[in-house]
């Protein structure tokens, strides 16, 4: 048996202390120790992106990182994207375009899209495709996901091909952000 490691991380703007086994991943710590189950466990080889989180603003696969490596770092998970009761524009755009089908990949898609827009606020379609290339959608709902990201980046254009009817944006949605742990804590 190896010694446990004490890890101090800032998650969604809040300082958290966890004690982990060295072979536990950041994904394990987020889900099992901190209860932040928005970050999904899927392929565990860094191909699907369901476990994507932001570290220092950059997207990483939390399944390919030991929890111990995160000591002293600032992490944003999907739970930290909304501000109070207000969804991140990306979350709203995903709802407006119907980008979530089964929904399993969506937290990772949102987090990767957040990193993309922070770096490239007005991406081209090709830049969105490349920025989200590490996030697989098993429903193959890529068109709506790309449309949502383009719409969040530039609400004036709906991201859909020319001539397609624009969908209403900003309508109230039954989704209740108050039920999401850590919502409203970040980004600070």
């Amino acid at each position: 048996m190896t010694d446990l490691v004490s890890v101090s991380v800032e998650v969604n703007g809040r300082l958290r202390e966890v004690t982990v086994a060295p072979h536990h991943t950041l994904l394990d710590a987020l889900r099992d120790d901190l209860g932040l189950t928005g970050t999904k466990e899927c392929c565990l080889v860094g191909e699907c992106g369901a476990c994507t989180v932001l570290i220092g603003g950059r997207s990483v696969d939390s399944c390919l990182m030991l929890a111990a490596e995160a000591d002293g770092l600032a992490i944003t998970t999907v739970e930290g994207l909304a501000t109070g009761a207000r969804l991140d524009p990306l979350q709203q755009a995903f709802l407006d375009t119907g980008a979530a089908q089964c929904g399993f990949c969506i937290p990772g898609q949102l987090v990767s899209a957040r990193a993309l827009l922070a770096e490239t606020p007005r991406p081209t379609r090709e830049q969105v495709e490349e920025g989200l290339a590490g996030n697989l959608c098993r429903c193959a709902g890529y068109e709506q996901i790309i449309e949502a990201v383009l719409r969040a980046a530039d609400p004036a254009t709906d991201g859909s091909p020319a001539g397609a009817p624009a969908r209403p944006s900003g309508e109230p949605h039954p989704f209740d952000v108050a039920n999401v742990p850590d919502a409203g804590l970040a980004p600070q």
């Binding site: 565990l44 992106g49 490349e130 590490g134």
Partner: protein, 288 residues
């Protein structure tokens, strides 16, 4: 994942010390994008994982010195692909860094880790080989410099000795204007290992060189210079003879799932042409 102890030293000498104490039972962790997968699937079973990301005298940045570019061992692919001097003077390396994995992988994966992993399909290897990269290694007896061509032995094996680690990768700055490009073939668009990976460099004085990988146990430099490929009037026979010489070292595995040997050898020739054309176009377009 099988349990292991975790060490996070802050100085290179302490990393070397840990490697000395634990020998092959210790594994270095940089980006972790290969290591964590192998820890999880049990193909490696170290007693100690030594995280080098907080080693203060191991750089995570690229510095431009009088005659060379120095890439610290903790530098990640994203930063290599975005660096203005890499993009201008080592474009093939910038190309290659930006096709490794996905954004998430490139934000963690280090160039040094890619080299130490010694995959024959490593996309950064041809780009570094054409530029004459040198690997700076530190170990129990001090520092030594290994030309990258002597660093690769075979798949998964490098010439690093016991207790040694990579500290940096050096690339000589260009003496004459040049263009370079990296190209690859994959089974599908997007995130895939290369079936063939190749880099070319064309210099203003008419010298052209290539390096390639994923067609044998290790990445290779072209056995001869590829200058004659710049000649649009080169006859078919002469071209075939040159290509045979260039790729004399290619020995693709007949058991690979990614592509057959015949396909790989045919694609090497296609990619050589494309990379040289792209490199020449960049040379003609000038810096910037």
């Amino acid at each position: 994942m099988r349990p292991f102890a975790y060490e996070r030293p802050t100085a290179i000498r302490d990393v070397v010390g840990l490697l000395g104490v634990h020998g092959p039972a210790a594994r270095l962790l940089a980006g972790g994008t290969d290591l964590i997968i192998r820890l999880r699937d049990g193909s490696i079973r170290p007693d100690v994982v030594v995280d080098v990301k907080r080693v203060l005298d191991l750089s995570d940045a690229i510095s431009v010195e009088t005659d060379r570019l120095v890439i610290g061992a903790r530098t990640v692919m994203t930063d290599i692909g975005a660096h203005p001097v890499v993009r201008r003077d080592f474009a093939a390396l910038a190309d290659a860094a930006m096709v490794v994995g996905s954004a998430q992988i490139r934000n963690r994966a280090t160039l040094a880790g890619n080299l130490c992993n010694a995959s024959p399909a490593a996309d950064t290897a041809p780009g570094l080989l054409v530029f004459g990269a040198v690997v700076i290694v530190v170990g129990p007896t001090g520092e030594r410099r290994i030309p990258l061509d002597d660093f690769f032995v075979r798949s998964g094996v490098t010439s690093l000795g016991p207790g040694e680690m990579v500290a940096a990768i050096e690339l000589p700055l260009p003496a004459v204007p040049r263009g370079s490009a990296h190209v690859r073939r994959t089974r599908r668009r997007g995130h895939d290992l290369a079936s063939v990976t190749l880099a070319a460099i064309v210099e203003a004085d008419g010298v052209a060189r290539i390096a390639y990988g994923s067609v044998g146990p290790r990445p290779l430099r072209g056995a001869v210079t590829a200058d004659a490929l710049l000649d649009a009037n080169l006859g078919d026979e002469a071209r075939d003879r040159l290509l045979n010489q260039l790729f004399a070292g290619a020995s693709p595995s007949p058991t690979s799932l990614r592509a057959s040997p015949d396909y790989r050898l045919a694609m090497l020739r296609v990619l050589a042409r494309r990379a040289i054309d792209a490199a020449r176009a960049r040379l003609e377009a000038g810096p910037g």
